[in-house]
Subunit: 996 residues, 2 copies
């Protein structure tokens, strides 16, 4: 697969040339310096890197190294070269103004939020707030986000974001299913009825998802016939329905009637909506909606060719326990202080495996935070002002077009007009040709009608440009803005309610909480963001050794292009010839990903790892179908698998059959063989993580894949652990047919406090025809599965980050990254071995890029649980490792290649010091309950306690090792009480909180 | 003065139009909301803003309000409009590549430093580190900067930056004068001898400065004749000499001989040098230099059309006590911990008034920090590698040009070649025409020779482009980079020393301290910067109520354009037609500044307020000379003036005559009249600050100016307090002839932790002809004074910030800013009046935009000094106000318009709480020595003290008010011991410091 466009013309000197750039990225990306690497190797007893690697990864799955040539590899670019190339690629995107709507809008990102959240490593390098005492800042911000959604939709519970509007709608559909009594489906059908004026890409994603659940997705003949169709279906099969408000054509529908009917049958009503419109419209919660979802993008997030943005999701109290995604709730700390944390066990570890109806983990936290901050900055009055202006401009536009003889098809509207151009004697194609000529995109509906959606970026010149397209088409002289301004005066645009639907005008106030009514000056806003930031541990403070999460450097060079308007400003449904830059970039990235994963083709559409799993299984399913083997539905999954694996399998309708592990942690090949043979007529797939979630390279991986293939199955290799192997082996090489990789892990997209991420899937050529397409902008294979994401290229804009990361490292650099990642993990395992039980190693005593240490023994000997260790580690100024997964008594530790050796040593020394603290308990020198672990973490507030009746000193509590006096990140609250919060679930912010 | 270029075509709706943009800047800039303003006015007893303002500013100096029209005012632009206009203006600058050298180079700014220092409000909104317990981060970084300079120049002391290379050289010259025995000047002449190959702009600034000191600046006939000329001058008149190393033509001179000769006469040797070259060259300190200065710009700071960049300055131990600028030194805190602070009383307050030989205050801290971080990131090996490459490429270039028949004039070189093009049969004009055609600028020397200076940004394609200019001119086919690469191999460019001057190769190692050898991965670098940042209080934490410093919002919108390469990448001596964007921007800014100050013309050349004072007085001097009144040399200055006023007067050679103040703080008009009359034949100027440094609008200002004018003097109004009056009155209106304004105060350039700033001067039309020019790029008036700064437009790039600020506020917004600034200060004064002695008010009881409170009474009653209050205020999580200036027992408090009312209230409440703490002492309920004031500030470390034998609790110490528990900025060390540090001066970082 050659480069579709030649890379930038430049001279590529040999590495020994005096011309070699000095701003090479690799040495900036790697933590250990050359001398450190030598020391680490010799600590492990190796004299060189090769002999070490040979003992890590089985020789027989090794591949020849990635080259540094463009032809068959990836040439490394210096940071400056990358910058120039990125500028060149950005320049290929055309700066058109899109009024296409369909859930995507031009947004004004408040500069203070852009600079201090989106471009701030303290926000973007944070992890999902699983360690709540170190994450109160972003937890507060996410609860602000939830409050925005609750308040604007008028439903009592909202989650902290989903991946996009399409998948949010699909989650809503699945939630309906889970909440409707089984008895309802008397006719054996489970119908989900959708209004035809729901956005087409949403309907497409619903269709994709429906099949796996055995849902019949039915698009109503018309909105007028909706009630009738509900009645027809009646109690027997309807499990839910969905409408959009305002709908994709701009109409502000009166849905109260149909909602009543739907609920009357015992089914649920899902509503897609628009946050800005809801500042003016009666909220769906007030007219009966059970679930409301949508895209929060227009709250100050760049449209970015389709993503990432935070989808929102709210529901009734009745439904809350089955809500997908993460939910932030208020609880309290051990000292009684109010504190936030993820509520209702909404964590990956709690995914209900094969019983799950959702597999969502990584979501869109960073973007949810941006949207929340946007609401904080504008406040209710500001948001209402923006909405009022957008609506007023839409009225001016409608009036102008009507006066030219165009017909506005939708009788009510907020910001969107469907224009019948035939009424004025024109064809839509003419109009689009003229608009593109004027630098403008309208929505392409059909040959007679076009759509126009306005937004907060529209100024007088913009509106005049729009109107002039039509003036010109009608052979009239172009007008000046003052004409429209006078028209506005004549129309007396002071009316505040939505035109023609005053019965749907909003009467309930929203966002009355103080946080939305205080920080309206830039100074205040800046301080609020900084105040939150200071409570959050992120990579700017130290290592985040989360196994399976690969918290590596997110370099500035790779992050910078994301901020450019050439990438941020493009609508996902703009004509593709306006997005050549994206085409080049995504093609290059897909080609590079195929290369490093050892596959033949890649799709970046899935916008998380879990979404990639789902897409990959759908591709396998389509492949089997194409062979007349559509009945194959058994999916073998090791017990050690991440919870998303069985969840994804369940979501495509597969039956999950678990495979055991041997005592040494490796796959039980005999069990696999037995189950594969047993199910060979129905075997669809085998899902396996390589190296395993236990942190070892299975020796039997090739044999395992062979067994599956021999029995007619396809192998899905979960690529979450790719950071161990790029350039050394590959997912394709070990036997996979299809895999996802987590670009937010191996390929350096920052975790953003819980997303965004990308989970592209790569596959062998026999599966390539099935890669997902998109109904609006076709993409993917020749006989593709339908879209799994709302946008054709998913979270398109952040592909820039992985693209840059890969280009700057080049083939050899990517390989070195794997080597150092392996070395760092093994260095930790080696140094910790005298103190802790390293649960699994390979026969050479080596772990992969992460290491599982078993703390189970200390429960017996000292009464300590994994959580106690995780909390105590905070006192040492670290983020805890992944805990209780994949083994409930374990920590999974992954240092990555980016951690300096002195930070690895600091971590190791902390763990050794903690081991000594354990011994005090074991030896009876410290109390089993009243000790440093059980009371951990110790926030600064403990220092102020007048009475200190603990058997250890305050120094021991907060400065267990000396270095902390120089530099320490303090947890801001004491240990969170999870039970208290779940009992009394509060997931919106109070009305009186105050930060200073 | 109309706009030289029409502003961007756009439609300007009326404010009532539905088209009015919603992202208006004013409400984001102002802290108090509308309702707060009402409350504050009514607290003060006013029913509306006008009646309040009328009681603040004497009616008779009021002006008609600034309009919002482009024609006679300033139309406000929304944030988005500004962004677009800035892009338009940026686009007018041409992206040429300059190899002009002369102290300015293309730089690669490491992205991690760009984003996390230059674009980080936590760094750029900080103030000069006068409150060291809250500023250990940037103090450490500045000591890193000093260490870089000390290490590379091999002199024992370096300061924390000066304004530019030209003025640094001038400071060096003045320092020579101050350190040479008076007895030396037997022939009545004080000669400073300069090598003719010092950069011409440096020589020009030296010339400007020399006259005021009575120094004869003599440019030597040639470098060859230097020794002879020194001998001629001998002991009798030579006070110093200066050479450049490498010189402006690229020659690496052997200056050891002449240095010995100069010193032999008892004079001092000043050397201008280049940091990158010094990584390869024998440092001047090793061959006898007394003072070394230069520009640190090429250490990772954008060239930015001339600035801002940090000039550096180092000297021998003997000279240290007279070193200009700020010096950071190591000392210790009250608890014995090592801690940094400004040493040797290098603070504005300590400027030696009329005895000063320097007036520098604001310097270039932010840029010094960037340069220091660049050195930290690259380390000695990395810097040496960069230098080695630049030198190697220069050798390739020399060889290529010689092979074409061009003559390299300089026999030795590091990175610069002077090329005799006549030798190859060409004229320089031809070469420049061809190079510009190729997008390249060379240095314009004379008609036969051109200069080429290479830098770290030069890659193979760049060098090939340069060489091809000459190939083409010689009628040869263009070459490809591989030709040069092969040449490099043939030349065997491994030699590490500078070509032809191996005797000048550097043999001493540099930057061996651990800080320069540790943070070389991006992760490590990021953490180091964040670690420092967290120790520093800045506007992101809360109010910085520093009187006279105007610590207002530095908005993101105004900061953003500074980061663009269109502004950052232009060489100050590039042909002006390549910098049309800058021309437009600076013309607009100068026009707007003239408008708001009430003057006729403006020059932005001076790069600090003090530099503006100096320039303004030079202009007055030139004016007098033009009238045949060159003998006028008396300058009347109120005793209350900022120390820079008399210092600047002294520096132009004026005799300072002080004017008294009356008991109510106002100017003693009788004293003024008496002195003015007495000196009427020699009266040159009167310098006055309006409103006064006491924070009141003098009623007698007009009369005072009249008195001065009547006696033949010119009035210099110091505009540092402009934030009180823009749009309400003006400096011109009250009677000034010329003024500087501090763009880093009133006009929103951030203070950057001690610079950059700009101090433009504005003047009436009779002085306009004398505004400063520049010898390389002419600018200024028709009969101008010579340059006061190294670059034609001083710190050109940051003009973008004030330009944006003014444009976004517009005429009415600027006026509102003044109103709210006045209201906020009066609100504070009013609420504090029951507790503290408001030292001066006008007859209506009103202060201006700042308020002086006298703490003198508490020295008697409670033994408390101003410093005790300043330190204790830190415990309340504030930065202290300006202390002991302009009255030694006072605090000068300036809140600015950007502080939210709740922050003003928090401040007031803190002061009231402190007043109660004072009462405890007064009432004998607290000890006079062992109390919360004397032990303040209380860093977190006190909480760990096992023994707490103080008579107050830890809670009282650190949380004197309840709100602090929620949010508090902690001082990182205990009270600094100034004496200890000055006694044992250490101003470079140790070799073992470690942060984690
Ligand atoms: C092994 C494994 N598979 C899949 C996933 C799911 O990826 P995502 O969170 O991007 O949906 C994870 C996430 O942690 C994982 O560790
Ligand atoms: C009244 C006054 N004049 C002049 C100056 C000097 O300005 P700069 O620090 O920019 O040199 C200051 C600085 O604080 C000042 O307050
Ligand atoms: O620091 C002063 O502005 O005086």
């Amino acid at each position: 697969q050659p480069h579709p466009y030649p890379p930038s013309a430049s001279y590529h000197p040999s590495t020994s040339s005096v011309f070699t750039p000095l701003d090479t990225f690799l040495p900036r990306h790697l933590g250990p310096r050359d001398a450190d690497v030598k020391d680490m190797l010799s600590a492990l007893g190796y004299k060189d890197m090769d002999s070490f690697i040979n003992e890590c990864i089985p020789k027989d799955v090794r591949v020849s190294p990635l080259s540094d040539n463009d032809a068959d590899g990836i040439r490394p670019m210096s940071e400056l070269e990358l910058r120039r190339r990125a500028e060149e690629v950005a320049g290929m995107n055309k700066g058109m103004k899109s009024y296409i709507g369909m859930g995507y809008h031009n947004a004004i990102v408040p500069p203070v939020i852009q600079r201090n959240v989106l471009e701030n490593p303290a926000w973007y390098t944070a992890y999902t707030p699983y360690s709540p005492e170190q994450a109160q800042g972003r937890l507060e911000s996410l609860i602000n986000f939830q409050t925005v959604i609750i308040s604007l939709t008028s439903l009592p519970i909202a989650n902290a974001s989903l991946l996009d509007e399409g998948t949010a709608a699909a989650e809503g559909m699945a939630m309906c299913l889970a909440n409707v009594p089984k008895a309802k489906f008397t006719k054996g059908k489970k119908v989900f009825l959708v209004s035809p004026t729901v956005a087409p890409q949403t309907i497409e994603v619903l269709k994709t998802r429906a099949s796996g659940f055995g849902i019949e997705l039915r698009v109503a003949k018309s909105n007028e016939s909706l009630e009738e169709e509900v009645e027809e279906l009646g109690e027997a099969g309807l499990m839910g329905a969905m409408v959009q408000y305002p709908d994709v054509n701009g109409e502000v529908g009166q849905w109260e009637g149909v909602t009543k009917k739907v609920k009357g049958t015992g089914a649920k009503m899902v509503v897609a909506s628009d946050l800005l419109a809801l500042t003016m419209l009666k909220p769906p919660g007030e007219w009966g909606a059970d679930i409301v979802c949508g895209n929060s993008q227009r709250f100050g997030v760049p449209v970015g060719y389709g993503g990432p943005h935070a989808a929102f999701f709210s529901c009734t109290d009745e439904l809350k326990r089955k809500m997908p995604g993460r939910l932030v709730g208020l609880s309290k700390g051990a000292r009684g202080e109010p504190a936030y944390r993820l509520a209702l066990q909404t964590r990956e570890q709690h995914i209900r495996r094969e019983k799950a109806t959702s597999n969502v983990c990584t979501a869109q936290a960073l973007l949810a935070n941006m949207a929340a901050m946007y609401a904080v900055y504008h406040g209710p009055a500001g948001l209402r002002r923006i909405a009022g202006k957008v609506h007023a401009l839409t009225r001016i536009l409608a009036s102008s077009l009507e006066s030219l003889g165009f017909e506005i098809v939708n009788k009510t509207y907020f910001d969107t007009l469907t224009v019948n151009v035939k009424a004025a004697g024109l064809g839509a194609a003419h109009v689009h040709a003229a608009s593109v000529q004027a630098g403008i995109n309208f929505r392409r509906i059909d040959e007679n009608s076009i759509g126009i959606t306005l937004d907060e970026s529209v100024g007088p010149l913009d509106l005049t440009d729009i109107v002039n397209v039509f003036y010109q088409l009608k052979g009239k002289a172009a007008i000046e803005p003052d004409v429209l301004d006078r028209l506005a005066t004549e129309m007396d645009l002071s009316a505040s309610s939505v035109d023609g639907v005053s019965s749907l005008g909003r009467s309930t106030p929203f966002l009355q909480q103080s946080v939305f009514n205080k920080h309206h000056s830039e100074t205040d806003m800046l301080r609020y963001m900084m105040h939150l930031q200071e409570k959050d541990y992120s990579l700017v403070h130290g290592m985040i050794p989360l196994g399976s999460c690969t918290m590596k450097l997110n370099s500035t060079s790779a992050m910078v292009p994301l901020s450019w308007k050439e990438f941020g400003g493009i609508h996902p449904f703009a004509p593709v010839d306006q997005a050549k830059g994206y085409e080049v970039l995504i093609n290059e990235l897909e080609r590079d990903l195929s290369l490093v994963t050892g596959y033949d083709a890649t799709s970046v559409q899935p916008n998380s790892g879990a979404s990639g799993e789902y897409a990959g299984l759908k591709v396998i399913q389509a492949f089997h179908e194409s062979k007349g083997q559509g009945h194959r539905n058994v999916c073998l999954i090791p017990l050690s698998a991440h919870g998303t694996n069985p969840a994804s399998a369940a979501m495509v309708g597969y039956k999950v059959v678990p495979i055991k592990a041997l005592a040494d942690g490796s796959l039980d090949l005999e069990d696999l063989r037995e189950k594969a043979t047993k199910h060979k007529d129905d075997l669809a797939s085998f899902m396996v993580t390589y190296p395993s979630t236990f942190g070892v390279f299975e020796e039997g991986i090739e044999e395992a894949c062979q067994i599956v293939h021999d029995n007619g199955g396809q192998v899905y290799v979960d690529g979450a652990n790719c950071n161990s192997l790029v350039g050394l082996t590959s997912l394709g090489r070990v036997g996979g047919d299809v895999s996802h990789t987590n670009l937010h892990k191996t390929f350096s997209i920052p975790h953003g406090g819980g997303g965004p991420g990308i989970g592209p899937i790569s596959c062998k050529s026999h599966l390539a025809p099935f890669l997902p397409t998109h109904s609006i902008i076709p993409t993917g294979g020749s006989t593709p599965i339908p879209a799994v994401s709302a946008a054709p290229w998913g979270s398109a804009s952040i592909n820039t980050i992985s693209w840059a990361y890969i280009k700057m490292l080049g083939g050899s650099g990517l390989t070195d990254v794997s080597r150092i990642a392996l070395l760092s993990a093994n260095y930790i395992a080696h140094r910790l071995a005298p103190y802790y039980n390293i649960r699994f190693t390979n026969r050479n005593g080596r772990v992969a890029h992460e290491c599982l240490i078993d703390l189970g023994e200390f429960e017996k000997s000292a009464g300590l649980k994994v959580t106690d260790f995780s909390k105590r580690l905070q006192d040492y100024s670290f983020h805890p490792p992944t805990a209780q997964w994949p083994i409930s008594t374990c920590w999974l530790i992954e240092p990555t290649e980016s951690e300096p050796k002195h930070e690895l040593d600091r971590f190791i020394d902390a763990l050794i010091a903690m081991r000594k603290e354990v011994d005090l308990i074991v030896d009876g020198k410290a109390d089993k309950e009243n000790n440093v672990f059980k009371h951990a973490p110790h926030p600064l507030a403990v220092l102020l306690d007048d009475k200190w009746d603990r058997p250890y000193s305050k120094q021991t509590a907060v400065y267990p090792v000396a270095g902390l006096r120089k530099s320490k990140f303090w947890p801001s609250v004491s240990r969170l009480d999870d039970a208290a919060g779940d009992l009394n679930l509060i997931c919106e912010c109070g009305s009186t909180e105050d930060y200073a």
